[in-house]
């Protein structure tokens, strides 16, 4: 894996997620990121950015989401920064995975996937922005 980083500016539109996924995959190929690691980070970024676009920003918002992706000595680290009102998705209750079908809730699946796929997830409110940082080690 080669050292490098990329910063992407994503508009508040669900169609942007396809572009995000494409750029993340290109970054991964260029930097020889193992495909399983890339798959997980790509999906985690998709979930975080989707959440901001659908629930953080108003429809048609001019605000952007800044996604930074970086290789480290032992894996990948990425951050997602948005200008929506303060919201820590890590406070969302985990879905009850043992609940029977009729009691399974639709919410919380995305952030649960992020937590399950990543080795480390953290949130901070910084300079008026929500910043989620995710890390994935290469095993």
């Amino acid at each position: 894996m080669h050292e490098g980083s990329i910063t992407l500016h994503i508009a508040a539109d669900v169609r942007e997620i396809e572009r995000l996924n494409r750029l993340v995959r290109q970054f991964g190929e260029l930097h020889d990121v193992p495909s399983r690691t890339l798959y997980s980070v790509n999906l985690a970024l998709d979930e975080l950015v989707t959440n901001v676009i659908l629930y953080g920003y108003e429809e048609g918002s001019e605000k952007e989401i800044a996604v930074k992706l970086e290789t480290t000595k032992d894996g990948l680290v990425a951050s997602v920064a948005d200008e929506a009102k303060p919201f820590n998705p890590l406070n969302v209750a985990a879905p009850d995975l043992k609940a029977p079908l009729e009691e399974r809730q639709l919410g919380g699946l995305g952030i649960h996937l992020v937590r399950s796929l990543m080795d480390h997830v953290s949130y901070k409110r910084e300079k008026g922005k929500n910043v989620l940082t995710i890390r994935k080690r290469i095993k």
Binding site: N21, L43, T50, L117
Partner: protein
Amino acid sequence: MQIKEEKQGDVMIVTIDDHLDTAAAPAFEQRLLGLIDGGERKVLIDCGPLEYVNSAGLKVFLLAAKKLEPVGGQFIICSLAPSVLMIFEMIGFTRIMKIAPNREDALRAFGVTAAT
């Protein structure tokens, strides 16, 4: 997103595309729930081409399963790629949904013998 529908016996087989993401999920939801509203009770989703699914797409499977259960329907998902199966396991869907390795096994589970 390309969604293919075909009927085998009384089983409605829906084959989905390679990407089921936030942009594609609403069309899939509308088609799938529409089929159930239209009276389909045995629904098989063939995920053979599916390489990538996010929570927006996963919710559609959950909605369909929740809708079919109280009306005595059967819902089976088949041919999941390993990376997609891992996601299904991660969110506990393998506990609440029937997953078949391939279409033949799924049809057998519905009680339909493969056409010769």
